[in-house]
Amino acid sequence: MLELEDVHSHYGGSHILKGITFRVEKGQVATLLGRNGAGKTTTLRTIMGLVPVTKGFIKFSGEDITNKKPYRIARMGVGYVPEERAVFPSLSVYENLTLPMTKGQSGLWSIDKVYSFFPILKTRGLHRGSQLSGGEQQMLVIARILTMNVRLIILDEPTEGLAPMLVREIAQIVQELKKEGISMLVVEQNSRFAEEVADHHFIIYNGRIVYSGSNSEFKTDERIKSQYLGV
């Protein structure tokens, strides 16, 4: 589904990604773990075309997307939810949901289907983005990219700042979307959440992937957790 091969990128003059190589298989939920400053967010932004690739390549469902324009990558079916969530505060919930550009296969995620997935958003339809709580915002941004008929969702710290009950709710949503056949790459600090939702884990350290393992391997590997995540 998603393939990165020796990807390098620079940000603000410094070399952040120093040869990232990993793959996310179709229908899989993978997490990208690592300490602050390891390059997690930069990896996601680089996949999305928001940070230029200086070496290496990125493929999405077999097609080369290296250094393509972000809007083209999005239209191919990659949905990006940044850490700051980026709800448009002056738009209504409904406007936020209908904003994305859909291309081809429309109707796969109709607004009704999105509402049935997130009933809370239906009741808040006419409220402005600025009036939503943190949890509602997180649901809105996930719901918003569904209307683009995404095949891969890239989530940057979806649980950050959310109460435990909401974290559980987000975990459930991730599971249900997986059942719908959507692949996901999730950046997380919360390794309990990561273990709950993911099939595979990657650990990034100083701009390189230093660990790759299935969920069952990762769960029991205390050494790797303490070495790279400080758990």
Binding site: Y71, A74, F88, S90, T98, L99, P100, T102, S130, I145
Partner: protein
């Protein structure tokens, strides 16, 4: 000071306010989408007035033709400025592009000065709109009533466009967070061309409308632009509703200032702005998190 005079002044404030609204709306959408203050906006306004002068004096002496064609021509001019100049600098810090708009302002002003002289050119009120209208409580020049009507209709049309159409929705979202739009599959470079074109068209319209009541001279946009910054700051940076309300408020402050103590009229708006910002730093409708 009688009531007639006070009402007259308040109407004059409304005229000035209407021009501020047209200019500030354009400044606001450009600021929101590109993240820059467009210093050339006043020059676009001035260019609109000179374009109207050129059309009515050298092409076809018809104000109505100028009223319709100048905003369209100016919108095209603005779109070209975006495509040929602004676009090259988006990857650099915003200061560069502001410097570019500042330079563009100087170039346009001097180009007009070279072509038409620095004294300014005469511009008459269109014939069908000379004379006065009896409003019941006072007589008021019909051209000025017409100006208020046109700007109100334009502001309403812009408002409907921004709130009711998909493109308007994209522009509003762009004033919130232009980068996020790309991640939703929207080609923002086209949107940016459109926004600069639209803002420039509005400035051009303001220029045509102002031509019969202001002196048409190369620096006519300068003073108005500085006042417009005050409008945008009071209204709240990036807020479109704020541009409308802020424009009307500043127009009235100047009109009242002229009645009370004319030399202070222009200073008054800065005093008001300073006092207002002490109470509400983000302006009327600005969002707290807008300037991180």
């Amino acid at each position: 000071m009688n009531l007639q005079f006070v009402l007259m002044q308040l109407f004059n404030g409304l005229i000035l306010g209407s021009l501020y609204v047209l200019l500030a709306l354009g400044l606001s959408i450009i600021f929101g989408m590109l993240g820059i203050i467009n210093f050339a906006h006043g020059a676009f306004f001035m260019l609109g007035a000179y374009a109207a002068y050129t059309i009515t004096s050298y092409v076809i002496p018809n104000f109505w033709l100028a009223l319709i064609s100048v905003p369209v021509l100016m919108a095209i001019f603005g779109a070209f400025c975006e495509m040929l100049l602004f676009r090259r600098l988006y990857d650099l810090p915003p200061l560069y592009i502001m410097l570019l708009t500042f330079g563009l302002m100087l170039v346009l002003q001097d180009a007009v000065r070279l072509l038409f002289g620095s004294m300014g050119v005469p511009f008459g009120t269109p014939k069908s709109l000379t004379g006065m209208i009896n409003l019941g409580f006072m007589y008021y020049p019909s051209y000025r009533i017409f100006l208020i009507a046109v700007t109100s209709l334009t502001a309403a049309a812009v408002w409907l466009f921004l709130t009711r159409t998909r493109l308007g929705c994209i522009i509003r979202a762009g004033t919130d967070n232009p980068r996020m739009l790309q991640a939703l599959g929207i080609n923002i470079s086209k949107t940016m061309t459109l926004v600069v074109g639209m803002g420039t068209g509005l400035a051009g319209l303001a220029g045509v409308l102002a031509a019969p009541i202001q002196n048409v001279r190369p620096l006519m946009g300068m003073d108005l632009l500085v006042d417009c910054f005050v409008v945008v700051v009071i209204g709240g940076m990036g807020s479109l509703g704020g541009s409308v309300v802020g424009g009307l408020i500043v127009g009235q402050i100047i009109a009242i200032g002229v009645m009370v103590w004319p030399p202070m009229a222009n200073t008054l708006i800065y005093l008001f702005m300073a006092a207002f910002l002490l109470i509400r730093p983000r302006g009327l409708f600005g969002r707290e998190a807008f300037h991180e």
